[in-house]
């Protein structure tokens, strides 16, 4: 099933945003949102990108589909550098990558009916009769757990989680090869979340889809992802198979993330609190484990065939 050459290869990607100031409103500094990030995703694979809020996950995803310009680095899709393509060829290629946006409301056009929102990508690329189009849209809506007649309503008439599912339906219309899903289930209760995750896994098998799954929910990431990259302040600090990273975390930030997962079992809450405290103490006194003498995060080093960590 899996090919040897990656579907997506992100190489030393940097995305910097200018910080403007002073009288001339010139760039006086930069926010290094994504700072030298490299990873690969194979066909049919799910790669999870996890990390602190503001560490550059969304920026990385948006750079891949071309919504942010890379400051430097390369993004190869199917071996082709997308940044070099123009016009029709570019449109044809980028159609294979779709994104589910983190902020569902802001990304859905409020003046359009759901039918038009979900069908829009179809209209750009495929010729369908209105009947076929309607059927295609309603099938998708039902598969993400919405009523078929949701097609005739406007985004503001939906709850937060319903809007997020509209965004997912929209990303799926064109049968892409890669979906960048930015917090696709974070607004959903666990039951609907389960339904959407099952569905995402089903279509993955059916169409050999790859996912870049951006999330802060380690429970979900652990469940659905093959490999995980942990991001911290613009850089990857740990990468490996999902079970490896989860059960044998090496970087202190990863440990901290895992210990902070809230505990549902009353019996284990106290034990959890102790682990959390000890990790927190380690974390506070561990500047040297994170940064080199110039204040830079370390580069990833392999500690096994599949597992890498940023340590001195």
């Amino acid at each position: 099933m899996k090919k040897m050459s990656p579907l997506l290869s992100v190489q030393r990607l940097k995305v910097y945003f200018p910080i403007r100031g002073g009288f001339w409103h010139r760039a006086i500094d930069h926010t290094r949102a994504t700072d030298d990030v490299s990873f690969e995703i194979m066909e049919g694979e799910t790669y999870g990108l996890v990390g602190e809020s503001g560490c550059g996950k969304t920026t990385t995803g948006r750079a891949i589909i071309g919504l942010h310009k890379a400051t430097s680095g390369k993004i190869l899709f199917d071996g082709i550098d997308l940044a070099k393509l123009r016009g029709k060829e570019r449109r044809r290629r980028t159609k294979d990558i779709q994104m589910v946006f983190q902020d569902p409301y802001a990304s859905l056009n409020g003046r359009k009916k759901v039918l038009d929102i979900v069908a829009e990508p179809l209209r750009n690329f495929e010729r369908m009769s209105p009947q076929e189009e309607k059927r295609a849209v309603q099938t998708l809506l039902e598969r993400v757990g919405l009523d078929a007649d949701a097609a005739y309503r406007y985004p503001h008439q939906f709850s937060g989680g319903q809007r997020q599912r509209i965004g997912i339906a929209r990303a799926l219309t064109l049968n892409p090869k890669l979906i960048i899903a930015d917090e696709p289930v974070s607004a959903l209760d666990v039951s609907v979340q389960a339904q959407v995750l099952n569905f995402m896994q089903d279509i993955q098998k059916e169409f050999n889809l790859a996912y870049l799954f951006i999330s802060h929910d380690l429970g979900v990431v652990q469940h659905i992802c093959d490999r995980i990259g942990i991001m911290y302040r613009g850089r990857l600090v740990e990468e490996g198979l999902a079970e490896e990273v989860y059960s044998n975390p090496q970087h202190l930030y990863t440990k901290r993330l895992i210990s902070a997962i809230p505990e549902m079992e009353p019996a284990q809450r106290l034990a959890k609190r102790r682990v959390r405290q000890s990790v927190q103490e380690q974390y506070e006194g561990a500047y040297d484990q994170f940064f080199d003498k110039d204040g830079k995060l370390f580069d990833l080093k392999k500690i096994s065939k599949t597992h890498s960590v940023a340590v001195p």
Partner: protein, 339 residues
């Protein structure tokens, strides 16, 4: 637990869709006390946000109809004038909106949006307001607070926006905080910090918190009581340890079973059969959950169940909960019906 801060009585919130009113919140009665965290959980679309927005009167009045009473420190908010309501809103009651981007003004800097409510409700100098805004940003875990203070919403990450909305809600030390999914966009480390912060401010101010979330871990760790909503109604209400140890309503039990952390990797997750229908298609007669437990005989569900107290402080709206073998939902087994 302190005295009652907010009392909701038989609230009904209806939206007008193509000329007909449909109740999204139906006969909800609740009480939040001083120094209490009441969590509301429930399936996407069950009416949690509609309930929250009803409390602070932010529904579009032309298409919404509100009935019942919402008493805040004795005053019925539904009967107050706009002016009076504006005084309470933002000062006495702070709201964290589910959708941070729509709650923020894209044209104003973060700093000015946090300072805005302070201008109206607090007697602070310009410099003191800025100091307070920076302090709030720091407390919600934003590292470069001076930089973020001067930025615009689109320049922030999703989780940073959410924390800005939390800072705004806390700006005037509210007596009641309504937090609609306040930590959905946050990683667990910052989530923990925010929940800590809310609890600290709460005990300083003796305030009440209405916490809407689907994160059952957060509920278990922070709530005092939990209300479970289904299709516009409260179907179960109990103290937090009670409900986790002994969930009664079949919906609550299914919810506890869907947790992905408990499932084998890449396996199929437990889902509740069927789905919450659109408002227009919701059946109003009989048990609203009936379609999702098809193995229970239909005759059980002809009457609309009422919310009844089955144990001190533990309420459930279900006629058939006794027909289920008791199962904590922790083992991943399915509920089995007997009759």
């Amino acid at each position: 637990m302190g005295k009652a801060l907010l009392e909701i009585e038989n609230l009904q919130t209806s939206f007008r869709i193509k000329g007909t009113d449909y109740a999204a919140v139906d006969d909800v009665s609740l009480c939040i006390h001083e120094d209490e965290v009441l969590a509301i959980v429930g399936e996407s679309g069950c009416g949690k946000s509609a309930l929250a927005l009803s409390i602070i009167g932010l529904h579009e009045p032309r298409v919404t109809d509100l009935r019942g009473a919402i008493r805040f420190e004795g005053e019925n908010l539904l009967e107050l004038s706009r002016k009076k309501l504006n005084e309470i809103r933002g000062k006495e009651i702070g709201m964290v909106f589910q959708d941070p981007m729509t709650a923020l003004n894209p044209l104003l800097t973060i700093g000015s949006q946090i300072e805005e409510p302070m201008k109206y409700h607090m007697d602070l100098s310009r410099i003191a307001r800025k100091e307070r805004a920076l302090d709030l940003l720091r407390r919600v875990g934003i590292r470069d607070e001076a930089l973020v203070h001067a930025r615009y919403p689109h320049e922030l990450s999703g989780g940073m926006r959410q924390r800005v909305v939390i800072a705004i809600a806390l700006a005037c030390n509210p007596r009641l905080l309504i937090a609609d999914e306040p930590t959905t966009a946050l990683d667990v480390t910052i989530q923990a910090q925010i929940m800590e912060l809310l609890k600290t401010l709460q005990s300083e101010m003796q305030s009440g918190i209405l916490l809407i979330t689907h994160d059952l871990g957060v509920v278990a760790e922070t709530a005092d009581r939990v209300a479970v909503m289904y299709a516009g109604q409260i179907v179960e209400l109990a103290e937090v340890d009670d409900i986790f140890a002994r969930p009664l309503h079949p919906y609550t039990r299914s919810l506890f079973q869907s947790n992905p952390a408990k499932m084998p990797r890449k396996g199929r997750l437990h889902v509740i059969q069927g789905r919450v229908p659109n408002l227009e298609n919701l059946k109003r007669e009989g048990c609203r959950f009936a379609d999702r437990v098809p193995w229970v005989p239909k005759t059980e569900h002809a009457r609309s169940p009422v919310l009844q107290e089955v144990k001190r402080g533990h309420f459930v709206r279900c006629t058939c909960y006794k027909n289920f073998h008791f199962n904590t939902g922790r083992s991943g087994e399915k509920d089995v019906a007997t009759s």
